[in-house]
């Protein structure tokens, strides 16, 4: 547990919660990233502006934090090209089929005690844990 970073985890998590509260209180929307991104990709005529603005904010976060002197985390992935392609396809397809991902179901859905989101979150958490166990400890990848 040497990499455990409780303080930055709590601060970061609170910011994510605050972001979702803002979007709800001011714009009446749920901060589900997969849904927002999907809507922006499909160039929804209604609501395209706020979706693009949200994504612009998401993209601007790391450069802005660097600008005000924050150390940015390393982003490391040892995954192979094929794993990247498979993972991306599954995440894109699965999050839309299941109507949400870690933000829409995991944060907002659980925060409003939605039974569908509780089930979805328990399901994708379990699937992810099993996948990591199989790939790291059984296949040794």
């Amino acid at each position: 547990m040497e990499q455990f970073t409780p303080l930055s985890a709590l601060i970061g998590g609170a910011l994510i919660g605050l972001s979702a509260v803002m979007l709800l209180v001011f714009n009446g929307r749920i901060a589900g990233i997969s849904g927002i991104f999907d809507g922006a990709l499909r160039l929804h005529t209604r609501g395209l502006g706020w979706r693009l603005a949200f994504l612009a904010g998401l993209f601007a976060a790391a450069p802005l934090l660097a600008l005000i002197g924050n150390d940015l985390p390393n982003v490391s992935s040892g995954a192979s090209t094929w794993a990247m392609i498979a993972g991306g396809l599954l995440v894109g397809f699965g999050s839309r089929l299941g109507s949400g991902c870690t933000s829409g179901h995991g944060v907002c859905g659980i925060g409003r005690a939605s039974p569908r989101s509780l089930v979805a979150t328990a399901t994708f958490m379990a699937a992810a844990i099993v996948t990591v166990f199989v790939s790291r400890h059984l296949l040794g990848a």
Partner: protein
Amino acid sequence: MIQIVFALVSGLLFGAGLVISHMVDPAKVLAFLDLAGDWDPSLALVMGAAVAVFFVGYRAAMRMDQPVFAPHFEIPDRRDFDRRLIGGSILFGVGWGLIGLCPGPALADLTLAPQSVLLFVAAMIAGIGLFHLLPKPAPRIAQAAASGAVDA
């Protein structure tokens, strides 16, 4: 127009939360999902804090007649468990566990470490495109009746 400003700030806060908590690093996410390895519980605290803040904010928001800058709240109201919810969540979880990236961090990483996520994001867009090729589900009432007859 004002909605765009608040969406921008909301996106900024979301991204900042992901960067500060290091959830943009797939290795950090995988260290949480790897219960049998050198377990890092950080992700649970990120999610716990986010859920706690949203839990309070959601309750406060629901006492308002309408959002500040929109005519009404747009909140999912479905309560049924269908095969799409479960199947989609399983596929999403497998992809998440394979790489350690979900949509928020993957997109935030486009400006932080583009070379390590470009392929993933391209595949994610293709996955979303594949989803839209699926036939649209039957109307909800008919679907509830049908699944009741088959599954229950």
